[in-house]
């Protein structure tokens, strides 16, 4: 008996409740933007400069006492967060201390870091400091620019590729879906104030990559079915294509999510934010390829006659393999 995530020959109507599904997406996007506008992101030092010190000790962390110990150093904004992970043995307490970038200096001086460490050791002499990272405002400014550029370039690159391989309507649908995914991910990071650093940008870009992967598989089938069923209504063809690929979509999302959830639980706290962004993005990305990208196609309409101008030799419009099928 085989495991089947989806019954064979499903025929769900994915556009019947489009007002609800598309509306929910639109609402979530708006909500994300509002949350972002109101509380912003909890930027890590990569993006706003400053120093983080990871501490590891045996004593319970009393944040107020720690603050009091550091206060005489006059460092400005200091945040202390305890870190939890199922991988820590009992009686081990890990925290992240973040200090804002200091006036007139790029990276924080070793003397200052030593002073902070000494101040904390007065509270808990067992403390060790397994990681100290300091980023100057100059670099963090550039990192913001390059991160935005990476996201922007990826969207443009994907749009160009889809436009060339499909039609402009597909490109618009795919990119709107991608923007939806990115905005929702930023929204959830803003909502829960999860630390947003360089690795999260990598996660965002991976989400773009994954989501486009998903969307393209659906679109590929749409193109094929549009040629096969020239007379059927567009929504009908879209429904058919999504149903055709449903099993694959859920299998792939399923295996990827399985791997990610395990990484989320067992992968340690250092990359948890990164993995969380990815997990969330894959859920959202899978949803958006069906309910956003395809919906946009319904709105925009598509060219129905694929035989003219294009390659007429194969059912899928463009063929990579030779006709005898041994091309690979």
């Amino acid at each position: 008996m085989r495991l089947r995530l989806v019954r064979e020959n499903t025929s769900f109507d994915f556009f019947r409740f489009w007002r609800v599904t598309f509306g929910a997406s639109a609402l979530a996007v708006v909500a994300s933007i509002v949350i972002f506008a109101v509380q912003g992101l909890n930027f890590g030092i990569d993006f706003r400069g400053g120093t983080t010190i990871r501490t590891d000790g045996a004593a319970e962390i009393d944040i107020a006492a720690w603050r009091a110990a550091i206060a005489p150093l006059g460092l400005g904004d200091v945040s202390i967060t305890e870190v939890f992970d199922p991988g820590f043995e009992a009686g081990r307490h890990v925290a992240m201390v973040r200090v804002q970038a200091q006036e007139g200096a790029e990276a924080t001086s070793p003397e200052l870091i030593a002073a902070i460490e000494a101040a904390l050791r007065t509270i808990d002499p067992t403390l060790t400091f397994p990681a100290v990272e300091s980023v100057g405002p100059k670099v963090s400014g550039e990192l913001v620019t390059s991160a935005l550029m990476a996201v922007g370039l990826s969207l443009l690159g994907v749009m160009a590729y889809i436009w060339v391989r499909f039609e402009w309507q597909f490109a618009v649908g795919a990119v709107v879906a991608l923007i939806h995914d990115v905005v929702l991910t930023i929204g959830i990071f803003s909502l829960f104030q999860i630390r947003f650093d360089l690795a999260i940008i990598a996660a965002l870009l991976t989400i773009i990559g994954y989501s486009i992967n998903d969307t393209v598989v659906v679109f590929d089938r749409v193109r094929e079915n549009l040629i096969r069923f020239k007379q059927r209504a567009l929504t009908e063809v879209l429904n058919l294509s999504i149903n055709d690929t449903m099993s694959r979509t859920l299998m792939t999302s399923g295996t990827t999510l399985l791997a990610l959830v395990i990484l989320l639980v067992l992968g340690g706290d250092v990359i948890r934010g990164f993995v969380f962004a990815m997990t969330w993005g894959i859920v959202v990305g899978t949803y958006s390829s069906v309910f956003v990208a395809s919906q946009i196609l319904v709105f925009l309409g598509v060219k129905r006659d694929w035989t003219k101008g294009g390659s007429a030799e194969g059912p899928s419009g463009t063929r990579f393999a030779g006709k005898d099928g041994t091309g690979a």
């Binding site: 085989r2 495991l3 995530l5 790029e106 990276a107 924080t108 070793p110 030593a114 060790t128 397994p130 990681a131 100290v132 990272e133 300091s134 100059k138 990476a150 990826s154 690159g157 994907v158 590729y161 360089l198 690795a199 940008i201 990598a202 870009l205 991976t206 990559g209 486009i212 992967n213 998903d214 393209v216 598989v217 590929d220 055709d244 690929t245 099993s247 694959r248 299998m251 792939t252 295996t255 990827t256 999510l257 399985l258 791997a259 990610l260 395990i262 990484l263 067992l266 992968g267 340690g268 250092v270 990359i271 990164f274 993995v275 899928s316 463009t318 063929r319 990579f320 099928g325 690979a328």
Partner: protein
């Protein structure tokens, strides 16, 4: 029907075998690492290995491949610095350096141009006030005459100095072409000096890289902290030799400035030396420095100059017998011995109140030379080895568990075909490690996440194919035709889907830095290997199996 030419079969298996062969040393990571370290140490020293080294080398046969995936700092622990070289410092130094030359040239023509003096100006600019504006044209001509052609790789491109008049003042700056050439030299010199200093400490695989116009990225695994690394590369051991014009105490010290330099003595409290600010010789002209002992058996440092330095040193000592001569290290006068005799040959000894450790350290610093310009540190990161080990452990557990979960999931979903997909998945991971080792890539924590993500996504191409075969089976044209069509029709989707993801990986690599880059490498290579295994390897496996069993019906 399902034909694959024999040469293709051989090629596919050969590629797989080569990939796994290259990946294999990673299974024995610590053993191979010990072997490589010992072999490198022996090769660097020359001669025979010590028994301990011989034992380490024997732990891994030389015949087997020995390249490993490098572990990034976040996994191994170590320090990371991003430094910005203050290139403008060099311009200022150059201006100070040409002033005596300009002064002497102008002095010779004093009759025509009247009196002149150097006045304060922005760093990198030499500003000379003339008392007699009529002499301006002649003075400009003289100063311009001191300019030399710019030395650059592109051949001569104009003069190195830009001289112009501003009222009754002459302004001298470096020309644009000279600045470019100087910047490039400064960067290369800084890189070289940092590399040598880091190498002196002897750590494994440091990364020292130029980034952009004026930055240097330094990553040293296994070092205790960024502060320690900074101490190693940031210590300027600037050695200069100056004529002494007098001594003073703190109370009577004249203000420095102009041609005089007032520096404290290193071992006599309260004594200040008044020196000529332009050194006779500098440490840049040193070719060697070794810890040694003086005739009283106190620790000292022996040094030797290059030919130009030796000539200057020889000429000066010949002309100034009986005069004191100051050895200045980092703005402190180490000693000011009286020149006893002409010192030809350019060797000498620095004595002072050193310990053996001091003299060794000083020799190292002198040998490595001084950094040509100050460095400002823009980014500093220290990652302790324990944290890195924790991350490796967590990543390993997560990778193994998720791999197992995906394997079970695939078999449950696709039965025998799932087993084939799983074999391909394992092969895929092997190939990925093989490629990472072969190109000398660095594995970072996000890189491990990239591998785990690849485990999840690698099955995608196979899933696409299997789902397609299932569909084709419904049209009942026989299992062979279904397999063929399944692969053929899924190809377009596989290519489109993976090319777009690959595009993103390329953008990540181009724009990203540090951890993002590490991730993009595993993601990009993962796409490569997963498409290869799905399109070629599983197809070959399915076809081979099909030829062997010739099933009448097929269940996917």
């Amino acid at each position: 029907m399902l034909q694959i030419a024999t040469w293709k079969r051989v090629l596919i298996w050969a590629v797989c075998a080569a990939g796994l062969w290259a990946a294999m040393p990673n299974l024995f990571y610590s053993r191979v690492e010990v072997h490589n370290d010992a072999a490198a140490a022996v090769a660097a020293r020359g001669g025979d290995p010590t028994p301990a080294e011989a034992e380490a080398i024997a732990r891994w046969p030389d015949l087997l491949p020995g390249t490993l995936v490098n572990l990034g700092l976040d996994l191994r622990g170590g320090a990371h610095l991003l430094a910005e070289v203050q290139l403008a410092d060099v311009y200022a130094g150059r201006m100070d350096g040409i002033w005596p030359e300009v002064r002497d040239a102008l002095r010779a023509e004093r009759a025509a141009i009247g009196s002149f003096r150097r006045i304060d100006a922005a760093p990198g600019t030499l500003r000379i006030a003339l008392s007699n504006p009529e002499g301006m044209a002649r003075a400009l001509e003289i100063v311009q005459g001191l300019a030399r052609p710019v030395v650059s790789l592109l051949g001569p491109s104009g003069d190195d100095l830009e001289v112009r008049a501003e009222g009754a003042e002459i302004l001298v700056t470096l020309s644009e072409a000279e600045r470019t050439a100087t910047d490039d030299r400064t960067m290369r010199q800084s890189l070289e000096i940092i590399r040598r200093r880091v190498d002196e400490v002897g750590t494994r695989e440091p990364t020292i890289m130029r980034q952009g116009a004026d930055r240097i990225l330094i990553q040293v695994p296994g070092i205790g902290s960024a502060a320690e690394l900074k101490a190693i590369i940031g210590t300027t051991a600037r050695l200069t030799f100056h004529p002494v014009t007098g001594t003073a105490t703190e109370a009577t010290a004249p203000a420095g400035g102009g041609d005089a330099l007032v520096l404290p003595s290193a071992d006599e409290d309260g004594v200040l030396y008044i020196l000529e600010s332009n050194p006779v010789v500098t440490g840049d002209e040193l070719v060697d420095a070794q810890p040694a002992f003086d005739q009283n058996n106190r620790p000292a440092v022996n040094f030797r100059f290059n030919p130009t330095g030796a000539r200057k040193f020889g000429d000066y000592t010949a002309a100034n017998i009986g005069q004191p001569f100051a050895i200045v290290l980092d703005d402190e006068v180490i000693s000011a011995p009286v020149i006893q005799s002409h010192i030809p040959g350019g060797s000498g000894i620095i004595t002072g109140s050193f310990t053996v450790e001091d003299s060794t350290q000083l020799a190292v610093l002198l040998r490595a030379g001084a950094l040509p310009a100050r460095m400002e540190f823009l980014e500093e990161r220290t990652i302790g080895p324990e944290l890195g080990q924790d991350s490796i452990d967590a990543g390993r557990i997560a990778a193994v568990v998720s791999l197992l979960a995906v394997l079970v999931f695939m078999v449950a979903s696709y039965g025998w075909f799932g087993v084939i997909a799983n074999a391909a998945l394992m092969l895929n991971i092997g190939l990925l490690f093989g490629m990472l080792s072969a190109i000398g890539a660095t594995l970072t924590l996000p890189g491990i996440a990239g591998i785990v993500l690849t485990i999840g996504m690698a099955v995608d191409a196979n899933v696409l194919v299997f789902e397609r075969i299932r569909e084709e089976l419904k049209t009942a044209r026989g299992p062979a035709r279904a397999i063929e069509l399944g692969y053929e029709k899924a190809l377009s989707s596989i290519i489109d889907a993976n090319l777009t993801t690959f595009l993103i990986a390329v953008i990540l690599f181009a724009v990203g830095s540090g951890p993002v880059r590490g991730f993009s490498v595993t993601l990009g290579l993962g796409i490569f290997t997963s498409v290869f295994t799905a399109v070629f390897v599983t197809r070959l496996m399915v076809v081979t199996w099909f030829e062997w069993r010739r099933p009448k019906t097929l269940t996917v």
